[in-house]
Amino acid sequence: MTTLADPVIAPRRKGSTDFIQKIAIGIAILLFALAVFAPWIVPFGPLDQSLLSRLRPPLGFERFAAGHYAGTDELGRDVLSRSLYGMRLTLTLAFAGALIGLLIGGTLGLVAGLRRGWVEDGIMALVDMQIAIPFTLVALLILSLLGSNLTVLVLVLGIAGWEQYARIVRAEVRRLSALPFIEAAWTAGAGPVYIACRHVLPNLVSPLVVQFTLALSNIVILESTLSFLGLGVQPPQPSLGSMVGLGRDYMPTAPWIVLVPAALIVALTFSVQIMGDWLRDRADVRLRDR
């Protein structure tokens, strides 16, 4: 069943890459590179304050402060430097969250697929429950109750998408188990762990890579939303969402504090999503070709 939560079912172009996809992938790679190399490229430290040059506008406006190309924020910190560091943190959290989701969901899915019976029923009931619950709301409540720190935040982001992996892995495992070569391996006396590692995992790589990429963009949105509401990354540490949230008070006077990180969030989610979509197309082609 397709649900609305599945991000994209795009036009199938049989593995070809169109113009928009090329641009989007280019942007995604550029943004990743900026995040990775942020410490070496940014002109200022993300926490360096200059109380004398607060709220200065970006290049091209009056009162521009030299070197601060995207302006400064309410403590005179460089908006561009903070945004790139913020993106670095946002992406780190997203990768960590997606990995945790992959680990939890992948393991449970594998177990559910290999072991039938009440184990499978139990795990699938958990999956159903996770789908039924509006998770953003749950995340909000957990964080406002427990208080936010990076560990709790990463765990919450990880739990956010595990059920998608579990469903994919379980379905794939069940499909594979029915195939003759696996049956043969069973008969030959191979243990479940051996079968999982030798035969199942290699076949899971490509659907999981696709799901991982799509989850990445969802987690970026979730993290930004939580941080925007003040429940995610805490000051003075910048993340893109918290910059938008804390900068909101200054939006009428100094919109750049908000617009620069907001634009980065949109660019990030947009390009990563198109990239995930493109990966899915290619994976489908490969699967079909086999």
Binding site: L4, A5, I20, L141, L145, S217, M251, A262, V266, Q273
Partner: protein, 308 residues
């Protein structure tokens, strides 16, 4: 069919029970409301007085039993903050959220279904690509960004639209759009794909072969058949997406709804409001899920006719 219905009912009740219990545990784990929001400048005796006053002096197990007994008999207690019955506090807010949700669903249907159809019919031309771009964009722009950029442009710069509360039609415009962004994106894609599936099927080709106009084919046969899936999917997913969006949108537009209420209640540890609020939302979500399950079942003869 009957055994299936029983299974759905049991599943719903178990889910609700689990949610109520988890909420209870989460609240008690998170510290007590007196230290959290009344602690500022309290003496030791004052603190003890307030713990008695809020009936937080029993053991956790006693509190849990009291909570469950209350829940079963519909008694959820008084808010710690304003000492009103929580049922009243929550129901005041529920209608405001409900209005916004309905407005968003209506707006989503109005925009997304035509867009999805256009996307399917013109999938090979630039119109189709444009529709897909809109769909991507809706997904990529988080609702808080959509909301604050609209506020900046339409309220602050242009002074066109009001930003506070739910007093009039104009108040609905920006919150509705902000809530609908993701929904429109999702539903547009879904409609488009459902239409593509349907348009590729035999009876459509037959209809075309009979010489019916393209518009009639699409509207009569295509939409009619795709519509069933579209609507059940809305039921299944809207609740979740909307519950998430509502917190953000309600806080930005000072909308007196339940999302804002829950987050505030969590921040000040107003357990009774939080517990009842979460249960209310959970009942709504679980009910919608159950209805969706049942409607799928009714549509699917394998389930409808199954005997256990």
């Amino acid at each position: 069919m009957i055994p299936y219905l029983i299974r759905v009912a049991v599943k719903s009740v178990v889910t609700l029970f689990a949610i109520a219990t988890i909420t209870f545990i989460a609240t008690r784990l998170s510290g007590n409301p007196i230290d959290t929001f009344l602690g500022d400048g309290l003496t030791e005796e004052g603190r003890a007085e307030l713990i008695r006053y809020f009936q937080l002096d029993g053991s956790l197990w006693q509190q849990y039993l009291a909570f469950m007994r209350g829940a079963v008999s519909g008694e959820f207690g008084l808010s710690f903050v304003d000492r009103r019955p929580v049922t009243e506090v929550v129901s005041d807010r529920l209608w405001a959220s409900g209005q916004l949700l309905l407005a968003s669903v209506a707006f989503t249907l109005l925009v997304a279904i035509p867009l999805g159809i256009l996307g399917a019919i013109y999938r090979k031309s630039w119109i189709g690509s444009a529709v897909m771009m809109v769909a991507f964009a809706g997904y990529a722009v988080p609702s808080f960004i959509l909301a604050i950029v609209m506020v900046l442009v339409f309220s602050y710069w242009l002074n066109w639209l009001p930003v506070v509360g739910n007093g009039s039609f104009a108040h609905f415009i920006m919150p509705t759009i902000a809530m609908s962004g993701v929904l429109i994106a999702a539903l547009t894609r879904f409609t488009r794909n459902a239409m593509l599936d349907v348009l590729g099927q035999d009876f459509i080709r037959t209809a075309r072969a009979k010489g019916l106009g393209e518009a009639r084919v699409v509207l009569r046969h295509g939409l009619g058949n795709a519509g069933v899936t579209v609507i059940s999917v809305i039921g299944l997913q809207v609740a979740g997406l909307a519950a998430a969006g509502s917190v953000v949108v309600e806080s930005i537009f000072s909308w007196p709804g339940i999302g804002q209420l829950l987050v505030n209640a969590a921040l000040v540890r107003d357990y009774p409001v939080l517990q009842f609020g979460v249960i209310t939302v959970a009942v709504a979500v679980v009910a919608i899920n159950a209805l969706t399950d049942v409607s799928y079942a009714l549509a699917d003869p394998r389930i409808r006719l199954a005997r256990s």
